[in-house]
């Protein structure tokens, strides 16, 4: 009922009739800068460091695994179901739990563990951003509940920025119910504009670039 009333009122205010066609919208503004891979990597690392995220460039699978192992040592970690984490042997490191597909088990573990390990669907070089689509491979809570988030990202996933992301994914909703961009550790400046990291999300982020 309210729908009809509101629609009628909107149309009356705008002087439009039901079903009336619209003029063409302004063209979407997508400008993808021409940045080679080396510069992307440089930008990405610099942006992450400015955000106080830790970075590690892994020359091979073994060193990536070793870096993650140094973080999980003596800790409780939860890894996402991203195939990459299995391939790298990260999923079967000591103390790493992997393969959860049930919500209750996921909630319980994510709320308790010290570290969440994920991959990412894309990364944005200019802002140091991780792009995560929710799926059976990547649960939303793993990059959210634990105090530390470790993301392992292949170099090829590195895009120049937002424009390239939306050029490749003009309709993110087709792919998943949730796309999240993560730019640095969770933070607040609500008390006297003083920066505090780790409010509700992870206060510490490690990005391993393959």
């Amino acid at each position: 009922m309210s729908r009809e009333a509101m629609m009628a009122s909107i149309r009356e205010s705008l002087g439009r009739t039901p079903g009336q066609a619209i003029s063409a919208p302004p063209e979407a503004r997508i400008r993808i800068p021409d940045v080679d891979e080396e510069s992307r990597v440089g930008q990405f690392l610099a942006a992450l460091e400015a955000l106080n995220a830790r970075t590690f460039v892994a020359p091979d699978a073994a060193s990536a695994r070793q870096y993650v192992a140094s973080l999980t040592l003596g800790k409780d970690a939860l890894a996402s179901n991203a195939p990459l984490l299995r391939e790298l042997g990260i999923a079967d490191l000591d103390g790493v739990r992997c393969g959860i597909t049930q919500l209750d088990a996921l909630r319980e573990h994510a709320a308790r563990c010290d570290l969440g390990i994920t991959s990412a669907d894309f990364a944005l070089a200019d802002t140091g951003t991780l792009v995560m689509f929710s799926s059976v491979e990547e649960a939303r809570l793993i990059s959210l509940l634990p105090p530390v988030h470790v993301a392992v990202v292949p170099r090829q996933k590195l895009l120049s920025g937002l424009d390239e992301l939306f050029a490749l994914n003009p309709e993110p909703a087709r792919r998943s119910s949730s796309m999240v961009l993560i730019t640095g550790p969770s933070r607040t400046a609500d008390i006297e504009q003083i920066l505090v990291r780790g409010v509700h999300g992870p206060g510490e982020i490690h990005v391993v670039l393959l």
């Binding site: 619209i22 503004r29 998943s176 119910s177 730019t183 969770s186 006297e192 003083i194 509700h200």
Partner: protein
């Protein structure tokens, strides 16, 4: 003049409180500096083009709002969500009460939303025995203190860590803690429990994406992500004006919002949420609702020019730069939206007669219009609203005294004899009463009524003992030799004269 005296009792506590003045000034100053850095030519060369694009997109969406809302609804439904249309706050409350009853839930976690502040959602839910919990740190502090947001981006901008310590100590019954890091950890601990306990998460929306049926949330803490991921039900409450045509338009808006708001190229989290959890996805809500709120917006749409106030993406840049906001602070504005944008939204939502002083509370310096990422012509809107208020007064015949005054003034100014007589009389009265000082030192019988209102914020030196006319006359009467040679003065010490 009546209007200005009417706000004095509220204004003075803010103006006379040096600690509060310092808090507002430092916080807004920092936000101004950070914004400046991120929109500068070196960091964002196409900033002006992005602003123009954002303006064009908003204008297009608002001018065809019926079309985009229908498209949005179709796509939300295609994603498995529902759209609830609400004309006012009561309809939103009724909807949420029904949902809570059906779910047998008491606790609702909320992430920051100015739209729900508009309709006093928390108070109404509490009246019905529910427990809405604000989860943004600033909002949580304010909820404990029973205060409304001071600023649309930094809600607790006016509070010091010591005041936060007082509030936590009193309301949470915990040991005093004055370190912001520790205060944040305390809030995190308490709110984490609430997130995992709540069945319903309520968020606002920064954007509604028509071609995707998606809600976009922009934040730094992670509380919006948690509110929309942990509970079984996600309800986004959004004003109808938040709709944008396409997901791709976010490439424009996201570049502007974080930079204009807090000087971040992107905020920490940007969530693009399109419906409930899908087959195969492990987590996310089972139910997804978008409440589309009118609450006066369709009325604002009627004015084809002034409807641009609805373009606002709530970045707060106009507040931070506004010399008036920076002095009087957020709580002196009558509605939830403060600063320049509040000054143009409030009269349009609540009626011109309710707070007629508001569009006048501006120096018209133009800074707000310059920083606005969606190019709302705030200074011009303020002038238009002033004109509307006067026109309304005239229509009601409330401007009779003013008219009479100006007629008398016109007579005076066009008749030299009258003018001379009046200025002699005026100078005699003021001089005699004012002891050669400033107008505000006038005795009480002159410093009253409209004069008092005017003088409360300004001052004037009193007239010189002799008017220019008089001096000129005297000079002509003197023999030429006794007249000082002015030319010399002008070259030698002209500047100090």
């Amino acid at each position: 003049m009546k209007e200005i005296t009417a706000i004095q009792p509220q204004l003075h506590p803010a103006l006379d409180n040096p600690k509060l003045q310092l808090a507002i000034y430092t916080a807004t100053g920092r936000l101004v500096d950070k914004r400046k850095g991120t929109v500068a030519e070196e960091s964002l060369p196409d900033y002006q083009e992005l602003r123009s694009q954002a303006n064009a997109l908003k204008r297009h969406a608002i001018d065809h709002l019926d079309y985009y809302l229908e498209l949005f609804q179709r796509n939300v439904e295609a994603n498995g969500g529902k759209v609830i249309w609400c004309r006012d706050g009561k309809e939103v409350v009724d909807f949420l009460l029904g949902l809570a009853k059906q779910r047998k839930s008491k606790v609702l976690v909320k992430s920051k939303s100015m739209t729900t502040e508009e309709i006093h959602l928390n108070e109404h839910l509490e009246e019905h025995g529910l427990e809405p919990v604000e989860t943004d740190l600033g909002e949580y502090i304010l909820q404990l203190a029973h205060e409304k947001p001071y600023h649309i981006v930094a809600p607790a901008l006016h509070m010091t860590r010591y005041e936060v310590a007082d509030i936590f100590e009193e309301k949470l019954k915990i040991e005093r803690e004055e370190v912001p890091e520790k205060q944040t950890q305390i809030a995190r601990g308490i709110l984490r429990e609430k997130f995992l306990e709540a069945d319903i998460g309520v968020s606002g929306a920064n954007f509604l994406v028509a071609d995707s049926g998606a809600v976009v949330l922009v934040e730094n803490e992670g509380n919006a992500r948690l509110s929309t991921t942990a509970p079984k039900v996600h309800v986004a409450v959004a004003g109808i004006e938040k709709v944008i045509p396409r997901a791709q338009d976010l490439a424009t808006f996201l570049k502007l919002l974080g930079r204009s708001g807090t000087g971040q190229p992107l905020t920490v989290y940007t969530s693009f949420l399109a419906g409930p959890r899908r087959e195969g996805e492990i987590d996310g809500p089972e139910e997804f609702y978008v409440v589309l709120l009118d609450n006066g917006r369709t009325k604002v749409l009627r004015d084809a020019d002034k409807r641009q106030a609805l373009f606002c993406i709530r970045c707060g840049a106009c507040l931070n730069i506004c010399p008036v906001y920076r002095r009087i602070g957020g709580h002196n504005y009558p509605w939830v939206y403060s600063g320049p944008i509040g000054a143009i939204l409030t009269p349009q939502f609540e009626g011109l007669d309710k707070n007629p002083w508001l569009p006048h509370a501006s120096s018209l310096c133009g800074a707000c219009g310059e920083v606005c990422p969606v190019k709302i012509e705030i200074p011009r809107m303020l002038l238009e609203l002033r004109a509307d208020i006067e026109a309304e007064k005239a229509a009601k015949g409330e401007d009779k005294l003013e008219k009479l005054g100006f007629q008398a003034w016109a007579r005076l100014m066009s008749n030299p004899m009258l003018y001379r007589a009046a200025s002699a009389a005026g100078s005699w009265v003021l001089q005699d009463a004012g002891d050669g000082g400033w107008a505000s030192q006038l005795p009480f019988f002159l410093n009253a009524g409209p004069t008092k209102g005017w003088l409360s914020q300004r001052d004037l030196p009193l007239p010189a003992p002799k008017s220019f006319r008089q001096l000129w006359k005297d000079r002509l009467r003197q023999p030429p030799s006794s007249v000082p040679v002015r030319q010399q003065d002008a070259t030698d010490e002209g500047h100090s004269a």
